[in-house]
């Protein structure tokens, strides 16, 4: 039985709606995800700015706090929405679903994702989840206040646990559950495409490290999001049906005994959440690692140092990522033996992380480095990854974490390593692939100005937070007036807020560059960076089916730069051996 039907899937759609809105083209979907993330990141930054202003000038009048001053609950609502939007809608979408969708099929020589309609559904599910999440601002009581981790019992009790814990928290749970579904569908497509749709010659060992990173990330997503979905389902039932999965008995909230619940376990949520949560932080960062490897190699004009070790490290990080969730729960009263095991496993992740770092440095070593903006952001990624990773090793000691848990030290750690490092990965990818995506170059001079403001800016914001944490400053405090031992730290807060204002304003430089260059940037050639992978073998922007019906054949690995004896300092993957050395 041989049916291989070429059924009508490869004709470009003609109507505007099918082309740009309900598109099944992976490139359009990638851009849709990217713009979803772009919208979300500016929304998230605006929320953070309000928080920073409140921390320094607690009595300042704020635009959308009708009563005038911001209440502690409003601060917590901003914090919750800031974290949730950033983690789910920015760090999970742009690096993986955005760039992955855009570049992965092209890099492996496929005409599209394996299941284009499913792909479209993933995006629309994700957009729906964003709408549901953001609508929490507009319901009675406002947005939830229990943080992106939504710990019960407060997240499970409803209105009595505070403003925002009613309808707002319900919308949060539903929104996140919908997000899980969208991410699961996306993961299916990513893995199947990578496994089954690679062009002839594109063996596993010839896949660009970006593809490896997206693959491992998709596997993490597939195994992690189902767990969060289950947790959200149980939390939702506790909230609306009156079950007691997470709500213990004998609870008294604001002098009201909660009599309708018995026996539930808040710790159960923590286990479920962090079993998802730790892999999630790698979902945010692994694509950035792939991009960093790719960009560092291209602009050092050298092969990636230790390609196989890089792949192995990605796999090891992915695997270990599922074994360490307990390090978020050291102070939950767990047995010291469990804590020791989690601690040891956590520090083991330092090994593949160090392998990656040294291999990035090895890639740079002796290279003819071109300081493009993409390269600078790639280097920035490495810097931030190291800085943030080192503080992780402190936190991984249960005895030290006892002190540092729930302080600004943790805030510093995860912002540097997850927040900003992943954002630097996104920027590196943006400056690198923009010419391919829009057919025009981003302005490099403006790009470098943007880089320096952002690089110095984020260190200025987050480095001092380590000191706040070491001084015992708890996280999630809306206001420190009247807290004696925090008084002397006010000037640090002042500095951080100032740095945040400048850094956030500097993102307008990027926004300008982005939209200005899209319209008026210098026209991009097919391969402006003299890069080797398949996306650079096709026009910028690529035609509807990527290769105009002529699927490439791959003859070599992804990073053949400065090969001895070759005339050019790069050999594209699709170049036949006979053509190497001749002009191309």
């Amino acid at each position: 039985m041989v049916t291989h039907d070429s059924g009508g899937h490869h004709h470009p759609p003609t109507s505007f709606i099918r082309k740009y809105i309900f598109s099944t083209d992976h490139k359009v979907i990638g851009l849709q995800y990217y713009f979803l993330a772009l919208f979300s990141v500016f929304l998230g930054m605006a929320l953070s700015m309000l928080m920073r202003i409140h921390l320094v000038w607690p009595s300042a009048k704020m635009p959308f706090t009708p009563g005038g001053q911001m209440t502690p609950e409003q601060y917590l609502a901003l914090m919750t929405m800031h974290g949730s939007i950033m983690v789910f809608m920015v760090l999970t979408t742009a690096p993986q679903s955005g760039f992955g969708n855009y570049a992965l099929p092209i890099q492996i020589g496929a005409e599209d994702m394996a299941f284009p309609v499913l792909n479209m559904l993933s995006f629309w599910t994700t957009l729906l989840s964003l709408i549901v999440l953001v609508s929490a601002f507009f319901v009675n009581g406002g947005a939830p206040i229990s943080g992106w981790t939504a710990y019960p019992p407060l997240s499970a009790l409803g209105q009595i646990a505070g403003p925002g814990q009613g309808a707002g928290q319900t919308l949060w749970v539903v929104g996140v559950a919908i997000f899980c579904i969208g991410s699961l569908l996306g993961a299916l497509n990513f893995i199947t495409t990578t496994v089954d749709l690679r062009a002839k010659g594109m063996t596993l060992g010839r896949m660009p490290l970006t593809v490896w990173a997206w693959l491992v990330t998709a596997i993490l997503g597939l195994l992690a999001f189902g767990v969060l979905l289950a947790a959200c389902l149980l939390l939702l039932l506790d909230r609306i049906a009156g079950t007691s999965f997470f709500i213990p008995g004998g609870l008294v909230v604001t002098d009201t005994p909660i009599v309708s619940h018995t026996g539930g376990s808040p710790l159960l949520w923590q286990h479920l959440f962090w079993f998802f949560g730790h892999p999630e932080v790698y979902i945010a960062i692994l694509p950035g690692m792939g991009v960093a490897s790719h960009v560092l190699s291209t602009f050092s004009r050298k092969p990636v140092f230790g390609y196989k070790a890089m792949v192995g490290a990605l796999g090891a990080i992915g695997f270990l990522g599922f074994c360490v969730w307990g390090h978020h729960m050291f102070i939950s009263g767990m047995s010291p033996y469990s804590a020791f095991a989690f601690s040891l496993l956590t520090m083991t992740i330092g090994v593949p992380s160090a392998i990656k770092t040294f291999n990035w440095l090895g890639t740079l070593w002796g290279g003819r480095i071109q300081f493009t903006t993409a390269m600078m952001f790639g280097l920035g990624f490495v810097s931030l990854f190291v800085t943030g990773g080192l503080s992780g090793l402190f936190l991984a000691q249960p005895s030290i974490d006892l002190y540092l848990h729930d302080t600004y030290f943790v805030v510093a750690h995860f912002h540097l390593i997850m927040g900003v490092a992943a954002i630097f990965g996104i920027f590196a990818a943006t400056y690198f692939w923009f010419p391919k995506m829009f057919g025009r170059m981003l302005n490099e001079t403006i790009g470098k100005v943007h880089f320096w403001f952002t690089f110095v800016g984020v260190y200025s914001i987050f480095m001092p937070m380590h000191f706040l944490g070491l001084a015992g400053h708890p996280r999630r405090y809306a206001d420190t007036t009247g807290v004696n031992f925090l008084g002397p730290l006010h000037s640090v807060h002042y500095f951080i807020t100032l740095a945040a204002m400048i850094t956030i304003s500097a993102q307008l430089i990027f926004l300008f560059n982005f939209f200005y260059s899209m319209k008026a940037g210098q026209k991009a050639s097919e391969n402006p960076w003299n890069a080797t992978t398949l996306e650079w073998s096709i026009p910028s922007p690529p035609p509807f089916d990527n290769f105009a019906g002529r699927i490439p054949v791959v003859y070599r690995g992804p990073y053949e730069f400065s090969v001895p004896g070759a005339t050019d300092d790069y050999i594209p993957q699709h170049l036949t051996p006979e053509r190497v050395g001749k002009a191309h």
Binding site: I191, K200, G226
Partner: protein, 217 residues
């Protein structure tokens, strides 16, 4: 994995390229399907296995919640296990047999017999869901509801979640028996195989959940 179908599919390699040193892409087993738009049939097998992995993670999360909640709380009360669940289990097990019979008929190109057994399977699936519904009604009559006790909470959650997944399986069975294969990217053989892999797994999942609910009640 029913390998036969996928093995056959790979004959259609369009044989493009042909330079030196070009191992095939795809799953690295030597052949691929290049030059033709659309996707190789094996992708449907890949995606169903991955999808099942995701589904299993979801149910494992619920299962460990079940065990943790039972172990940590001191408020667990057993309820009368609805007897009809034994019958439902037999029905679902039978459906796994009938679906195999249906597939054999399809392989031997006996279209009518395939259709017949395939609909028997579908009916058994619907019967199972009806039986689950009756089990809920029996519990409700005893005054055992979702919120009554953690034991019943988990009972309703797990049976409902499984029922929903099985309902998806029924939709897949109906889809396979009703669509025309002329212009589709997926072949009838692949669709049949993929649907039955899913069906068997939902069957196995039920047996597991049944044991969990029965022994852990």
């Amino acid at each position: 994995m029913p390998g036969t179908i996928t093995d056959e599919i790979e004959i259609i390699d369009a044989g493009r390229g042909g330079g030196t040193n070009v191992p095939a892409g795809g799953d690295d087993d030597g052949e691929g399907s290049f030059g033709s738009p659309g996707i190789p049939q094996r992708a449907y097998f890949t995606v169903i296995q991955l999808g099942l992995a995701g589904i299993i993670m979801f149910f494992m999360a619920l299962t460990s919640s079940f065990l943790v909640r039972k172990g940590l709380g001191n408020d667990w009360v057993a309820f009368n296990f609805p007897r009809i669940l034994w019958l439902n289990t037999l029905i679902l097990l039978a459906s796994s047999i009938t679906i195999q019979i249906a597939r054999r008929h399809l392989r031997e190109d006996e279209k009518a017999a395939f259709k017949r057994w395939w609909s028997v399977t579908t009916s058994l699936g619907i019967l199972f869901l009806a039986g689950q519904f009756i089990a809920w009604r029996q519990l409700a009559r005893q005054g055992v509801f979702l919120v009554t006790n953690p034991s019943s909470s988990f009972f309703y959650v797990l049976t409902a979640a499984h029922g929903l997944h099985l309902f998806g399986g029924i939709l897949a069975l109906v889809y396979v028996s009703h669509r025309s294969w002329r212009r589709s990217r997926v072949s009838q053989a692949t669709a049949t195989d993929v649907a039955s892999i899913y069906w068997h797994c939902m069957d196995g999942l039920w047996v597991f959940l049944f044991a969990l609910l029965y022994l852990g009640r």
